[in-house]
């Protein structure tokens, strides 16, 4: 589903050149639930951003769903992300000015869907994460766990093949973290969604199919 070949990412300033990722090659199968671990600053999030086409590698090749992505322009990248990828962030990144339902509808705004259809799909997604009764709430009126569930609903509303989760349980206590993990596992199991998750939590990582460890930008496991 995702193929990375010799991915390198170098950050350059006037004086320093930092190698954030060093020749990473990775194949992630369709329906796989993969976790990425490693100490802070080892390049986990950078790798996830590159997989999500939010950042470009300095070198190497990415193929997602058998499609090479290096020559896509801004509009094509946006469309590709919209159809194929869903994102979950550690700090949720919900739009506080919008109600829960509007937040969940967001990816559908960039597709050719009617308002009625958007509402139906967003309500369905919220039902899946157990928040159907919170549609009119604003994010600031919800707990951390509830916000992350809204973020998951937003990630799955467009039925993407791949979900990229950057420390989805990082800001939550263990009970809430487990709840979120359950949702992700069910999503992977029942819908066959490919999930790549960056985590610091060994217990969470153990629940996934495969674990990749990074250290100083290199893959060590």
């Amino acid at each position: 589903m995702i193929r990375l070949q010799n991915i390198e990412k170098v950050y350059r300033t006037d004086t320093i050149e930092t190698l954030a990722l060093n020749s990473i090659s990775l194949d992630i199968a369709k329906g796989e639930f993969l976790s990425i671990m490693g100490p802070s600053g080892c390049g986990k999030s950078t790798l996830l951003n590159i997989m999500g086409l939010l950042d470009a590698p300095s070198k190497g090749m990415i193929k997602i769903a058998d499609k090479s992505t290096e020559n896509l322009n801004d509009k094509q990248l946006a469309q590709f992300r919209n159809k194929t990828l869903g994102f979950i962030f550690q700090s949720y990144h919900l739009i506080n000015d919008l109600q829960v339902l509007d937040n969940v509808e967001l990816p559908l705004l960039y597709r050719d869907t009617t308002a009625k259809e958007r509402k139906r799909l967003a309500t369905e997604a919220l039902e899946k994460v157990g928040l159907a009764n919170r549609v009119k709430h604003f994010p600031t009126q919800l707990s951390g766990g509830q916000r992350q569930r809204v973020a998951i609903a937003r990630a799955i509303v467009g039925r993407p093949d791949i979900i990229l989760a950057d420390e989805p349980t990082g800001n939550l206590d263990s009970a809430m973290g487990n709840e979120i993990m359950e949702i992700l596992i069910n999503l992977n199991r029942n819908e066959g969604t490919t999930i790549v998750m960056v985590t610091h939590d060994e217990n969470m990582a153990q629940k996934t199919h495969r674990l990749v460890r990074l250290f100083d930008g290199s893959q060590v496991q």
């Binding site: 951003n49 801004d74 990144h93 919900l94 739009i95 919008l98 705004l109």
Partner: protein
Amino acid sequence: MLKNYFKIAIAVLRRRKFFTFISLFGISFTLTILMVLTAFIDKVIGDNYPDKKRDRLLYVNRIEQKGKDNMTSGTLSYYFLSHYTGMMKTPVKVAISSGFNGTNTYVNNKKIAVSYKYTNAEFWDVMDYDFTEGKPFNKQEVDNADHVAIISEDMKRQYFGDVGPVVGKYIEADNVNYRVLGVVKNVPVTSYMFFSDIYLPYTVSKADYKSKSYGGGYMGVLLAASKDDVPKMQAEYENLMKRVPVESKDYQHLYSHANSFFRSYVDTGNEASSGVFIVVTAISIFVFIFMLLPTLNLVNINITRIMERSSEIGVRKAFGASSKTLVYQFIVENLILTLLGGIIGTLLSVIALWAINNADLIANLQLSINFTVLFIALLACLIFGFLSGVYPAWRMSKLNVVTALKAQ
């Protein structure tokens, strides 16, 4: 999609009340000034009372004579206008009137400032004053130098009070009693060629209207038989002026033109440059600078607002918004803001115009919002919204997604 943009625009406006206030104040205040200004210009240029046949008229209000070391420029003498336009074949009638002069009169020991002007009899045929009572003076009365007068409604109220018809009563101006022949609706002072409180036959003027000097206090309006005859009439006047000798050997050139209303209004009398060009350029520069200031202010505020919303931009990009879509969203948001400012500005303008009209700052001037003014205001709003949104939106759309997401 638009509904979503609208929701977020309103939410952002409500969240940052101070910025919203500054933005809306900038837009609405500028618009108010602009609308009052355009209402004023519109009134001065667009209002065609009492010269309702404007498309058949040409205005002669200036003569200039130039010599090597001498130059004289100003309004014309009665003699010059009547003598030379009398030679013309195209005009069917020629209205000749003086500029308005001021004097004082007393009613019940109360001083009233009065303006008066002299006209010929044809003036009343060429102009379409609305008579609320009575009728204009005729050629016979003018030739006899009868002490008769036409007064404005305002003058009637001030001099006689709220009474019934006043035709036949006497009004005193400049220590002379005149019999009122008619009452006409008020003309604003901005129509300076036609405004007055009292209109008198030119033959009662104490000044020497028979003087053969070219310069004097009079202006003329030539009436053509039809709209199509106007160019011919203008050409005839131009040709005539070429043949008129200069007044003395101090001068070599004589210039006088029969112009359309707008041109006659803004003509500087300077032969070397067009008054129209100067006026239009000056107004355009003024409006441009006036609009540019709040636009720059909005650009600045918008850039600040972008930085606060970089997380949202990151999220939208991650979930499929292209840079172009984001530019569109931000411009729409800005247009909503400026349209809100436009609505407030329109309301403020109504209040401002009402206040100006009631303060009676300019005699008989009743400014009002009309469609021209409203159209200009809405157009200005759109330009505001567009100009102040494009650059910030473009900058925003160029934000790197990862950097934008980290900003929260």
